[in-house]
Symmetry: C2
């Protein structure tokens, strides 16, 4: 049993110019060419802000929109009829959301916010235009999809083959790496806003056993679990426990 009923709805739409997009300005992503920027500006419909705990997409729904996450944390998940939940991946700034629903019809997973988030909203019907007029952006979208697939491959390997301890170590190191590269942690070592229930549902373990596993990691002084979140104190041994080298670096596209 792992589901949390949560039905708060996201709200509000404004519009900030793409020129001022914090993702562009961060220097963490590939910058746009002139014509790309002007296209994206016209492609953008507005913004969506949602609170922590809000559900953005629900499995089975048809959404007319496509989003890029501007700020905050979210996660994608699927549920079984009996209420068991599997978290598939975490959504961080620069990640594209809702592509599956756009291309394949229905959404086959749900998305929920871990923190307050801001999303940039696009019209799904204009995706064809994007492919026609901006092949480089189309290429970027495919790139992002391929990268998501790569992460899922890695998670599947983890859940299928690693021990509970290695699995947990892997997840925390993974989240740490991703958050760091998109600049979610400022200068000070920050905390990922998730509960042990989230970890459990990601690893495919029970809450109780997840707790005991995280406790072991804490006893080894590799992490500190605090309130709803964790901080990594020894990334090297954490990676060692996971048997994992880390994420490939490099500048990535978004939108």
């Amino acid at each position: 049993m792992s589901a949390k009923p949560d039905t708060s709805a996201p709200t509000r739409t404004r519009k900030i110019a793409c020129e001022d997009c914090p993702l562009r300005l961060s220097g963490k992503f590939r910058d746009f060419a002139e014509h790309e920027l002007s296209f994206v500006s016209s492609f953008k419909r507005g913004e969506l802000t949602a609170e922590a705990g809000a559900t953005i997409f629900v499995e089975g729904s048809h959404s007319p929109h496509l989003y890029t996450l501007i700020s905050g944390w979210g996660f994608r998940y699927k549920m079984l009829e009996d209420g068991r939940r599997q978290i598939l991946n975490y959504v961080l700034p620069g990640d594209l959301v809702g592509l599956q629903g756009t291309l394949l019809g229905e959404m086959e997973h749900s998305i929920e916010c871990l923190s307050d988030v801001v999303l940039c909203m696009f019209e799904r019907d204009r995706l064809g235009d994007l492919y026609k007029s901006n092949p480089t952006l189309a290429f970027d979208i495919t790139w992002i999809a391929a990268r998501e697939e790569q992460m899922l491959d890695e998670h599947l390997l983890s859940v299928g083959q690693r021990s509970a301890l290695a699995r947990a170590a892997y997840l925390l190191a993974f989240l740490h790496d991703r958050a760091k590269t998109v600049g979610l942690f400022g200068d000070t070592p920050e905390i990922a806003p998730l509960t042990q229930q989230h970890v459990a549902d990601t690893l495919g373990l029970s809450l109780v056993h997840t707790n005991k596993t995280l406790r072991k990691l804490q006893d080894q002084k590799t992490i500190i679990w605090k309130d709803a979140g964790f901080r990594i104190t020894d990334i090297a041994t954490l990676r060692e426990i996971a048997g994992w080298e880390g994420l490939p670096e490099g500048q990535r596209p978004f939108i």
Copy 2:
């Protein structure tokens, strides 16, 4: 311990006209427009045939090519240092192979043949051209990538949350559905060419426990395991055990 050392290399390149491509002629896939067909013809470099057991891609390698599987069965997998293997997904006719390596640099998984296969080979360097001159084909590629992601989501849910019995039932039903829709089974109910070790490495279970689980399914008369492969005798109860409704239907693109 689940790895099989296997180093036989694929061989031979011929060239069959795209006009005669069996995938096109099967009517199972979206057909090409004139200009698409001519582009694909020029995009194609030749064919690759490989024997059962051959490894097409190895994790960590750089391949200059991109492939579409024309006929046969294969699977994608990743390995841990200790030799444990996780099968990520199965590769069936119409599936694109090597896109990750093309877009992201290195291949992050390996691919092995379950049966003799024929692949259609494309030049990775011309993928940019494809995006420039054929947005609809570019769109198809993204579609295929999104669909692969969807399957991985489903597998992750399965491995993370379902019991051994449900997991096995799900996998067999899944394979059955996919093989059927691409016409891998002729009229007569056919057999998927995999061993119980493959099933074990897909489900994240030990070989012994996989055997006992499959035996239960067989005792319930939902499947028959025979030599290296299985046949489904009662898809309905198999789906029921899996708690799964089946794959979305509809005509799909390829290449």
